[in-house]
């Protein structure tokens, strides 16, 4: 009996989201004494066995075939369903990213199983079901739920689970798996995959400077850009800013925008609507600058400055310059 995790790796090694999935899955496997296994797509040589070992995974499966070059959601899900049946897996777990969610939805549809999205924790109950805690409203609420299914198909709310290594590392054996596909499985596949955009990515930035309605208009972002430049930060914005057309949607932080995971989120003129805060669950520290001491952001931030952005931001820029000159 196996808990099978779908993981990803690139030149930089095992993806951070995959470490979080494995930390989550160790909790589930530990509650029932099940084995842990990881599946990834690509040649066996690309499996980061050392890192999987640190995460406590004894078996890594490399799903690879000449047909499967590039991402093809239905074909990948079919391959996973074949592997899950052969182990057999009692749970299949992926990150709640766009790709992980899509794969698990296809797997659930192929196998006729229910699927629980964005889980935070899972444990087996006495009856063999799964007791779950999962996100609703993108993490603004928690749902306690019970999943009764022969195979638990789960995605993990990766911004709510820490990527902790295993207490007891494992030696990972790597197995090559040749998937069996059905006609039509490759009807949808990514035909090109182009890197685009340079500069600091909002999703992975160490510092994010956020601007909301309080910025006042498109021209109000110049000081925030300057501040971001000083801090090596990305600029993020709230939904009102993108729906007003002040900034492009690619900069939106929130439930329907980007999820950020910085060390510091400096939220400027942002009221702290549920929609926005759902994108900041992964921020380690939040500092708010706002004119309204009663704004919801003040009860969500760790530190706050009550004041007008047009005064505080230029003074902050000057203060940081002064600090940098001294050091």
């Amino acid at each position: 009996m196996t808990v099978l995790c779908v993981v990803e790796a690139d030149e930089g090694g095992l993806a951070d989201s995959s470490r979080r999935v494995l930390a989550f899955a160790r909790g589930l496997a530990g509650s029932s004494g099940e084995n842990l296994a990881a599946a990834l797509f690509g040649p066996a040589a690309g499996v980061p066995a050392g890192e999987l070992g640190e995460c406590g995974v004894p078996d890594g499966y490399a799903i690879d075939s000449a047909e499967l070059t590039g991402y093809a959601p239905l074909a990948w899900a079919r391959a996973l369903s074949g592997l899950a049946a052969s182990l057999p897996a009692t749970a299949v777990v992926a990150a709640g990213t766009d790709r992980g969610s899509e794969l698990m939805a296809h797997l659930a549809a192929i196998t006729g199983q229910p699927m629980a999205a964005n889980c935070v924790s899972a444990a087996r109950d006495e009856a063999g079901g799964c007791r779950l805690v999962r996100h609703r409203w993108a993490g603004s609420l928690l749902e306690d739920a019970t999943l009764d299914a022969p195979v638990a198909v789960l995605t993990v709310a990766v911004d709510a689970v820490a990527p902790t290594p295993a207490g007891a590392p494992a030696v990972t054996a790597v197995h090559a798996v040749e998937p069996e596909l059905e006609p039509g499985d490759l009807r949808v596949r990514a035909t090109e995959s182009a890197t685009r955009g340079t500069g600091i990515s909002l999703a992975t930035a160490r510092v994010v400077v956020g601007g909301g309605r309080g910025v006042g208009g498109p021209e109000g972002f110049a000081p925030l850009e300057e501040l971001a430049g000083l801090l090596g930060a990305a600029v993020g914005v709230s939904r009102v800013v993108t729906s007003q057309g002040w900034r492009p949607h690619t900069q939106q932080v929130g439930q329907t925008g980007t999820r950020i995971t910085p060390e510091l989120y400096l939220a400027c003129g942002i009221s702290g609507a549920i929609q926005h805060m759902a994108g900041c669950l992964g921020a380690k520290h939040i500092v708010a600058i706002n004119t309204d001491a009663g704004a919801p952001i003040i009860s969500r931030a760790e530190y706050a400055v009550i004041g007008d952005l047009s005064e505080v931001i230029p003074a902050l820029i000057a203060g940081i310059r002064q600090h940098n000159d001294k050091s």
């Binding site: 609703r136 609420l141 690619t250 760790e302 004041g307 940081i320």
Partner: protein
Amino acid sequence: MDILVCVKRVPMVGGRIAVTPDGQDVDTRMSGFTVSPHEECAVEEAVQLTQRLGGTVTVLTLGPPEAADQLRDMLALGASHARLLETDGREWGPMATADAIADAARRDGPYDLLLFGNEAADTGDYQVPVRVAHALGLPCVTGIKHLEVDGGGARARREYRGNEEVFDIPLPAVVSVKEGINLPRYPSLPGRLRAKRAAIDTGHPPWHGEGLRKDGLRVPAQEQRQAQLLGSGVEAVPALVALLDELGVLR
């Protein structure tokens, strides 16, 4: 081309979200209702496509009788027909929801394109579009931020880990979209008037239970904190610079 767009009535939450005393639902006594931004963009995309290529936009929802309000909102944005799959107040899971939508699409279609929001704002189940595609035997792409339709096919683009993925798919197909694919219009006055008078085609699909059961909802513990005040206005700046230094984010 004939397009079906599926939307979901959800509470309009602002700065705070509260749970009913029995812990089973979001407390909506003080809130209005809306649809997810993703879904509003799906309707806008459908309206733009039919303005260019001709055809119809049918907007469909599964929900209580009051969900007719959200259908009228979408009609005001330019949808041509509305269909309500009426429920009796029970919470529908994603499997039953997908079955009901697939049945309606079979009965009322064929449609060239079925558009969804990427995930519902409340339950975030991420699976109804994919399940509908499987039920209808159609190709499916999700998380789409750019869509071009021409002739019998579509080219759909999305972001993945900083890269762009491109999918060329035949139609008919199921596509779920994300906010940012377009900037939805505001409803026009004639649109609102037309929506008010429009007929809503109503059906009553059968509910069924599924393996995932909600036991209760709660507000996460970290919601209840209060920020430490560093001060007011420019006087707070030295303390703020010191904090940034302490957090190790200054160079």
